[in-house]
């Protein structure tokens, strides 16, 4: 059975301790709820290159890249990681998006040699996050990761089990995914926690996600938004040629026609706010809160929202509407994979 994120422990010790481990040392999060697909055949990278936003055709064994599957209107179907695992292509999808991605690829596989299977259930995935995450993994595996670029990967041995390490960004917080066969799950988890990496529950992980502004599928990533609005420009290659939705995305970029931006919010002390709450600027509705949570170390409530372009600038203070109350300051316009090509 595939692990659901909602089934994760809320906390293992305390949220404060776990959040501090994530942000000052290293934390271990069970991310097995993420989707994992195995693509085999000679045309996998070629087809993905023709169907998604980033250039993936040249990825050699060990290399990887984020890319976005979009509709012909340029809306996000899913943000996926493409990892060339040598004998196959590993696709890391959003939780529960596996079948949607398989169906999408299947629809456009006509004369190509490509088979995609869902390996989520037969594999596990952990994330090691935090400023000391690289050192912690190197210590546990006895192998140097070096400066592993985004979504590039290598295999290591941890506690006698083969594990694929993938460098998957988590805002500015260093983060590595570990993928393994499901029968290695307990052994690797126990080995890593025994080596001093702090297990992190849902509460502290969600706090880190929002403090580091990582968009989540179903909240900030969905067909309601396009990749430019979602701050995912760093996973778009504007020079590689056509893909589904390319005309729309290129036009939005060229003519600066973006209507709204994903923003990071810090709420005023004592604010009463929930997901879906309306935000106003000078009395006009400018957006809605997509995520909000409390940071356990006293920073208060942070969140994310899509805000109309004219009001989406750092320093801008927005108002919550009754029955909610308080203010929300825009502190950043996050770009998960950076500002893209110059």
């Amino acid at each position: 059975m595939v692990l659901q994120r909602s089934a994760l422990p809320t906390v293992y010790s305390t949220s404060e301790e776990e959040y501090l481990a994530l942000t000052t040392a290293s934390g271990l999060h069970n991310a097995s709820y993420m989707g994992r697909l195995k693509a085999t055949g000679d045309d996998g990278l070629d087809l993905l290159n023709r169907l998604s936003t980033n250039k993936v055709i040249d990825l050699t064994a060990g290399q990887g890249a984020p890319t976005i599957l979009t509709t012909d209107r340029g809306r996000i179907l899913d943000l996926i990681g493409v990892v060339n695992a040598d004998e196959y292509i590993l696709l890391i999808t959003s939780p529960g998006a596996q079948q949607q991605v398989i169906d999408f690829l299947d629809k456009y596989t006509i004369m190509e040699d490509l088979t995609v299977e869902d390996i989520t259930e037969e594999s596990s995935m952990f994330s090691v996050l935090g400023p000391n995450s690289q050192a912690a993994i190197e210590s546990a595996s006895g192998k140097t990761l070096g400066a592993l670029p985004t979504y590039h990967s290598l295999t290591v041995e941890i506690g006698g089990h083969e594990v694929r390490i993938v460098h998957r960004p988590f805002g500015d917080l260093p983060s590595y995914d570990m993928l393994m066969d499901s029968d290695a799950t307990t052994g690797v988890w126990d080995y890593l926690t025994a080596s001093g990496i702090t297990p992190v529950g849902e509460e502290a992980f969600e706090a880190a996600r929002l403090n580091y502004s990582v968009p989540e599928y179903g909240r900030e990533i969905s067909e309601a938004y396009n990749p430019l609005e979602a701050g995912l420009i760093g996973s778009i290659d504007f020079a590689k040629g056509c893909y589904i939705g390319q005309e729309v995305i290129a036009r939005l970029d060229t003519y600066q026609k973006i209507q709204k931006h994903l923003v990071r919010l810090e709420f005023s002390e004592g604010a009463a706010v929930a997901e879906g709450d309306v935000l106003t600027d000078a009395g006009q509705e400018v957006g809605k809160v997509t995520s909000v949570t409390n940071i356990p170390t006293g920073l208060g409530l942070v969140g994310m929202a899509y805000i109309r372009k004219a009001s989406a600038s750092p320093g801008k203070v927005l108002e919550l509407v009754a029955p909610s109350s308080g203010q929300a300051e825009i502190t950043a316009l996050p770009q998960l994979f950076g500002p893209g090509q110059e």
């Binding site: 169907l51 006509i110 893909y243």
Partner: protein, 118 residues
Amino acid sequence: MAITIDGVELGVSISELAATKIKYFAAKDGMTDNVGVRVAVKGGGCSGLTYDLQITDKEVESDKIVEQHGVKVMVDKKSYIYLVGTELEFSDGLNGKGFVFSNPNAKKSCGCGTSFSV
């Protein structure tokens, strides 16, 4: 509507000018006998599906093949359903687009005409 010759339905038909151009490009590549054009559909392009055109003198066993204007038109078997009734033309001149597909199955096409959806 599918185009037929002597009661045989064509997957793809080609105009006389397109055939002339195919023979011209084939000759430049040293092909003079058995000149053909292989037409297929691949996933990709702005609208989801994109045309794949190859000038070739090699037949693929599973292809649907009909000769027109001295050129063998070879249609990839799996692509056939997307291409039934399509005419391949050639747009000449300074602002011409080269080989152009007129596909009755295409519900939408992208601006440059090389990609479509059904």
